[in-house]
């Protein structure tokens, strides 16, 4: 029993080491300039298109819900006009980066793992090596970079759409004048708020890209394995995004307040 637990722990530590080396290999390719830009653009298109509609819909819904809940609660305190800062700050500092990372890992991230996993089970990754080409450079880096470039853009889209959702509620449900709502929104968002969200989204994009590419690259066990590793990639991404969000929030609040 103790031996089994010991083996399990050793297995997990070695998997973590393997994942860190994998990330190191990815960065080595990127920083040595071996980036295939045409493939990165292709991946940006696929990953962006895959996720943008669902992110717009969920951000709009988040903004509307935040606006509705905020207006009801704030009305009790006679502070209805604070809906705008509530919606804007919640979205920009926390909700948009985290929700976008969740949606992205569930949609594009899962797609990355499934694609690489299928290639691995069909020996296409080994074939790439056999053809004298580095599969990290050819198959992983374009997906990884696309993820890192697309996600922050999607976060900004999510923030804008979410704020628009809150605006609609503020104007039509809470009966606030449009000009005041817009002014309060602009005034409430300082550069620290915007950049803290953007910094978070950058870290989340690396986490999602790393976890999903790694799980896909080392998928085994045929079609069943592709399903298992894809589910695992999404679950691990969620956990790591949640944990890193807590750490980053603490760090950012300590630095910037």
């Amino acid at each position: 029993m103790n031996m089994a637990i010991f083996k399990n722990i050793i297995g997990r530590i070695s998997a973590l080491g393997e994942a860190i080396f994998f990330l190191g290999d990815v960065f080595k390719v990127i920083f040595s300039g071996r980036v295939r830009f045409a493939q990165v653009l292709e991946q940006i298109y696929y990953q962006g298109v895959q996720s943008v509609v669902i992110i717009i819909l969920s951000s709009l819904a988040s903004g509307v819900v935040l606006g509705l809940q905020g207006s009801i609660t704030l009305q009790r305190f006679g502070a209805r006009e604070f809906i705008a800062p509530l919606v804007a700050l919640s979205l920009v500092r926390e909700l948009s980066p985290v929700f976008t990372a969740f949606i992205y890992s569930g949609k594009s991230g899962a797609g990355i793992t499934a694609e690489l996993g299928t290639m691995n089970t069909h020996e296409q990754i080994q074939a790439t090596r056999a053809l004298g080409v580095d599969p990290i450079e050819f198959l992983v880096v374009p997906r990884f970079l696309a993820c890192v470039l697309v996600m922050p853009v999607l976060v900004i889209i999510s923030e804008l759409i979410g704020i628009f959702g809150g605006y609609v509620v503020g104007i039509f449900q809470a009966q606030l004048p449009s000009a005041i709502y817009i002014r309060q929104t602009i005034q409430s968002i300082h550069y620290v708020d915007f950049f803290s969200g953007l910094i978070k989204s950058f870290f989340f994009s690396i986490i999602v890209a790393w976890v999903c590419c790694y799980q896909g690259f080392f998928t085994s066990g045929g079609a069943l394995g592709v399903g298992r590793f894809t589910t695992r990639a999404v679950a691990y991404s969620y956990i790591m995004v949640i944990l890193s969000n807590a750490l980053l929030t603490m760090f950012i609040l300590t630095i910037w307040g």
């Binding site: 290639m119 056999a130 053809l131 004298g132 080409v133």
Partner: protein
């Protein structure tokens, strides 16, 4: 020339290869026979450096490839062609792009030259009018032919074929076996192949070896194998020998 010395490999708790040594002369075709799961594919992957042995060496033209760095191994593989069991074609590329891939990666040929070379190797493997097709539109035999075309398109000096007849009906197996021998002899390549198809292997090989429980039971000519009295060898060759 390929020289393998005392090669051993354990995967998990299982010893797959146990002190394997053999040589393949330039231009020779050596076929490894054996039932499924005896380590034929593992052996083949060691010859191109896709797997690292626990001990032993793989010497290709005087250079031990087990001692090369990852970058050196990638460079060295330009001299190899590897035909995977299921072809391992990129399913996001059509046939033309699959075959052209090594040329685009390792040469400075222009589009017209690449097109010409792709057509030449597709002709060599008897494929016509398939360039625009995706791998999912091809039969098993056609995938192997495209895989063979991709393996030789760079002018490989060493060709490794992993069970090229598996999953094919007897007629297609016969055709692909003849084709592989014909192509190998035409381009003068040194070839190592794995198979459990005794009949077709006898047709292709200059020499054959039988793998059993991680070691070579017998290696030699067709006659050497047929005259071997080891019970496993006799049992393995029985249906064909009769």
């Amino acid at each position: 020339m390929i020289k393998v010395e005392h090669l051993s490999k354990t995967l998990g708790d299982q010893k797959i290869l146990n002190d394997i040594s053999f040589e393949v002369a330039t231009g020779e075709i050596l076929v490894f026979l054996g039932p499924s799961g005896v380590g034929k594919t593992v052996l083949l992957k060691h010859l191109i450096g896709l797997l690292k042995p626990d001990c032993g060496s793989v010497i290709i033209n005087g250079k031990d490839i087990t001692k090369l760095s990852r970058v050196e191994q990638l460079k060295m593989r330009k001299d190899f062609g590897y035909l995977f069991q299921e072809g391992a074609l990129y399913d996001f590329m059509n046939v033309f792009d699959n075959v052209a891939f090594p040329l685009r990666e390792h040469t400075n040929l222009n589009y017209q030259q690449i097109r010409g070379r792709v057509r030449e190797v597709l002709d060599m493997v008897d494929l016509d009018d398939v360039e625009a097709k995706m791998p999912s539109e091809l039969s098993g035999g056609m995938k192997k032919r495209v895989g063979l075309a991709r393996a030789i398109v760079l002018g490989a000096k060493i060709l490794l074929c992993d069970e090229p007849t598996s999953g094919l009906d007897p007629i297609r197996s016969f055709d692909i076996s003849n084709l592989i021998r014909q192509v190998a002899k035409k381009i003068g390549v040194t070839m190592v192949m794995t198979s459990h198809d005794v009949d077709n292997s006898f047709r292709i090989a200059d020499r054959l070896a039988i793998l059993n429980e991680g070691h070579i039971e017998v290696i030699g000519s067709q006659q050497d194998l047929l005259s071997n009295q080891h019970p496993f060898v006799k049992e393995f060759l029985k249906p064909e020998a009769v």
